[in-house]
């Protein structure tokens, strides 16, 4: 790779950092204001009347969790129903009803902010399902992530109280004041770059050679903006953001990376502002930044070197990559997308080099905390911070505390359970796929596209992506089978809602506590030392869990 290409690659990273640095403060503070303001906008008051809720009434963590789960259950049912009745609905491009296992998988997928797609959208989902079901979930599932993070912030900020806010108010405000305005603006910017936006069906034109060329149209830009802003990732087209109508140019690609990192990064500012100590938000941001930098460097180097039989034979790892993005533009997108919970792709990760392709997997295995999904990244990192102060407390023999809150047995149990959910789902799901007779034949015979070690990686990637609600894939895997579609659907639901309930319980526990005074013995959690500790804890508790299985998949493939 020549010097100009490397300099250009560094330039795109610098541009991304600059954009994020400029947006961090205003967006972070605007979110803090939006979610703690006493005033209701007129449209919001209208919404509360329609919903029949009293916006002044706050909820206990249990009531908050019940409302969130009820909303999510209804969401799954409605998206399922829309797909099953597609044949009867208008704007459906004449497509038939979606089969049951696939409809369940997709409903679970979009409700949990995963946006895993076991189907080819062009051939499966009409415009109405896309905008009435999927776009709506892109908004509200992102809002659910934000409100859980905010509830946890309130738990830390408040003292001796039984309530952590109102789910309905938080949900409405996250949609109306944050997601909707930014999405509308960005959708138009994407159209400027060439993303299509029309209700027309696919068109055909006669080409210069006399053949037919299909022009795949649809309301793409509107869905694209919230797909990224809400770290959703579900593409309008099968090729996702590698498709020229989703991501037409190198600058729209950088804009998309900025969009998917915007809220997770700015939420660290919101956190600092809401707990009244901005240095704490900076420390969390610093931890995320270190992990991001290391991961991006590894993926960029691996793809640039292009090790492996096929890439070496071709003279570069261009299989599955678009010329307009290049190798470094693809590595940046893939890294950002899997370190958040976006799962959008502008190149096909399945065709990345063995070690390069291991990085997106590792990113998700870290629990997507650098900077993670909207809301989910922040609360994931705060749970890790709880574990980190516990470890530090053990080392120095003091009662652990975080931001003035004591970390006792109940808090530790909640945090430990949270950490265990992801690995349990990933490892058990992958193991069962190869262990159950009958299922094994389906997985090996039908689902796996690349036989051998890479096939194990495909299944491992799928469960990692589902459990962490990422949604990206080693897309060779055929996941619309009778085993993988429901199994991954259940994995997504458990991987989303079990951690959420644990975080809300933690928020309730912390809110009920008083605040302990800062003394000389208090571990400062805003210094580089703590950032280092938090990075270490993140790597140890999550990545090491997966080391054995990674040696069987990508590591073996890269070394053999």
């Amino acid at each position: 790779m020549d010097t100009t290409t490397i300099l250009a690659g560094l330039g795109q990273i610098a541009a991304l950092l600059l954009l994020l640095a400029l947006a961090w403060r205003p967006v972070g503070d605007a979110m803090a204001r939006a979610l703690s303001s006493e005033r209701h906008l007129a449209v919001e008051r209208g919404a509360y009347r329609l919903l029949g809720v009293d916006p002044a009434r706050e909820q206990s963590w249990q009531a908050y969790a019940r409302a969130l789960l009820a909303f999510s259950l209804i969401s799954v049912l409605l998206v399922y129903l829309l797909q099953r009745t597609q044949a009867l609905l208008p704007l459906s491009n004449g497509l038939p009803a979606v089969p049951e296992p696939l409809a369940f998988n997709t409903a679970a997928s979009f409700t949990t902010n995963t946006n895993w797609q076991s189907y080819s959208p062009e051939l499966t989902m009409g415009h109405l399902v896309q905008l009435g079901g999927l776009t709506v979930q892109n908004f509200v599932s992102a809002a659910v992530g934000i409100v859980v993070a905010v509830a946890l912030m309130r738990g830390i900020a408040r003292e001796r109280t039984g309530t952590i806010g109102s789910f309905w108010v938080d949900l409405t405000r996250a949609c109306v004041r944050i997601l909707l305005p930014i999405s509308a603006l960005m959708a138009l910017l994407l159209v400027l770059g060439g993303v299509v936006q029309t209700l027309s069906p696919f068109g055909t034109t006669e080409s210069l050679t006399g053949g037919q060329a299909t022009v795949p149209l649809g309301p793409v830009a509107s869905q694209e903006a919230i797909k990224l802003l809400g770290t959703n990732g579900g593409g309008f087209f099968n090729a996702n953001s590698a498709h020229p109508f989703e991501n037409p140019t190198a600058w729209t690609s950088l804009l998309q990376v900025f969009l998917l990192m915007l809220i997770p990064v700015a939420l660290t500012r919101t956190f600092g502002t809401m707990i009244g100590d901005r240095r704490q938000g900076l420390a969390i941001l610093g931890t995320m930044g270190v992990l991001f930098a290391v991961s991006l460097a590894a993926a960029s180097v691996a793809e640039s070197i292009g090790a492996g039989t096929a890439p070496e034979l071709a003279g570069g790892a261009m299989e599955g990559k678009e010329v307009r993005f290049g190798i470094l533009g693809s590595a940046l997108y893939g890294t950002a997308s899997t370190l958040t919970s976006t799962g959008a792709v502008n190149s096909m990760h399945d065709s990345w080099t063995a070690f390069g392709g291991m990085m997106p997997m590792l990113n998700m295995m870290l629990g997507e905390v650098a900077p993670g999904g909207v809301g989910a990244g922040l609360y994931g990192m705060l749970v890790l911070a709880v574990i980190a102060v516990f470890v530090a407390g053990l080392l120095v023999g003091r009662t652990p505390e975080y931001l003035g809150k004591q970390i006792g047995p109940r808090e530790m149990k909640l945090a430990a359970l949270y950490i265990l959910v992801g690995p349990a789902l990933v490892l058990v799901g992958t193991a069962l796929s190869f262990a159950i007779p009958g299922v094994r034949e389906s997985v090996v015979g039908t689902s796996i596209w690349n036989p051998g070690l890479h096939g194990l990686s495909e299944v491992l990637y799928a469960f990692t992506s589902a459990a962490n609600n990422n949604g990206s894939a080693f897309a060779g895997l055929t996941a619309s089978t009778d085993w993988l579609a429901p199994a991954l659907g259940v994995t997504m639901l458990l991987g989303r809602y079990v951690p959420i309930v644990l975080v809300l319980a933690l928020a309730g526990t912390l809110a009920a506590q008083g605040r302990r005074p800062v003394t000389v013995g208090t571990l400062p959690t805003h210094r580089p030392l703590f950032v280092g500790l938090l990075v270490g804890v993140t790597l140890v508790v999550t990545a090491l869990t997966y080391f054995p299985i990674l040696t069987l998949g990508p590591i073996a493939e890269g070394l053999l």
Binding site: G11, Q12, L51, A67, A70, F71, L73, I74, V136, F139, V140, W168, C175, L180, L188, V191, G194, G203, T205, L208, A213, P216, L217, A221, F237, N238, A239, A242, H243, P244, F245, P248, T249, S253, A310, P311, L313, A314, G316, E319, G320, K321, E322, V323, R324, F325, G329, S330, S347, M348, D350, S351, W352, T353, A354, G357, N450, H454, A475, G476
Partner: protein, 201 residues
């Protein structure tokens, strides 16, 4: 029990409101604004011949082969494609073949031999993008190196001076966006349209 039912009813109402506002309302608003302000892009960046006939989208790559799938020598060729039978705009897709996949390894070897023979060049001169399928299967671009590689063959098939075709390619090379984003590229459809104009004088 009653509160639980109440909560689910509230959830249902919330979702109906969300579907109307965030699904229909938002999508229609953006569609209206895009159609009013940026109709060319919103409708697919369609490209026309000088006579006005639409010949495709500037953003969607096309196949430049005959019906048997043999490359036509009078056109600049796109990259290999895994979308349907190649450049099927209805089914975007990459190959998703892994780095050690034997089918991929065999394809790359075959393509290298085929491109070298078609262009009459040394097999080692064929660039990576000519040997690999893109992520979308609809990549509208090729690398400048692959475009330059095709100049001699196209010039011969068209009976045009090689220097003129080479100059045309040079003019059609798009640099990086803003000077540093992505890789330099050549849009194949636009290049072929310009080639047609050149041939017509």
């Amino acid at each position: 029990m009653r509160t639980l039912l109440q909560t689910h009813l509230t959830a249902l109402r919330a979702l109906v409101v969300a579907t109307l506002v965030l699904g229909l309302g938002y999508t229609l608003l953006i569609t209206g604004a895009a159609q009013a302000l940026l109709p060319a892009q919103a409708n697919g960046s369609l490209v026309r011949e000088p006579e006005g006939r639409v010949v495709g989208s500037a953003l969607i790559g096309q196949s430049w082969s005959d019906e048997q799938g043999e490359p036509l020598p009078e056109w600049f060729q796109s990259r290999p494609s895994a979308a349907g039978d190649g450049y099927d705009g209805g089914v975007s897709s990459g190959s998703n073949l892994g780095p050690e996949n034997e089918d991929l390894i065999a394809s790359i070897e075959e393509r290298r031999a085929a491109v070298a023979a078609f262009e009459g060049v040394d097999p080692t001169d064929v660039p990576a993008d000519a040997l690999t399928a893109s992520g979308s299967g609809l990549d509208p671009h090729i690398s400048p190196a692959y475009a330059q590689l095709q100049v001699a063959r196209v010039a011969e098939a068209r009976g045009l001076p090689e220097a003129e075709v080479a100059a045309l390619v040079e003019r059609r090379i798009a640099g990086r966006d803003l000077g540093f984003l992505g890789d330099p590229s050549v849009n194949v459809l636009e290049l072929n349209l310009a080639l047609d104009e050149l041939a017509r004088g």
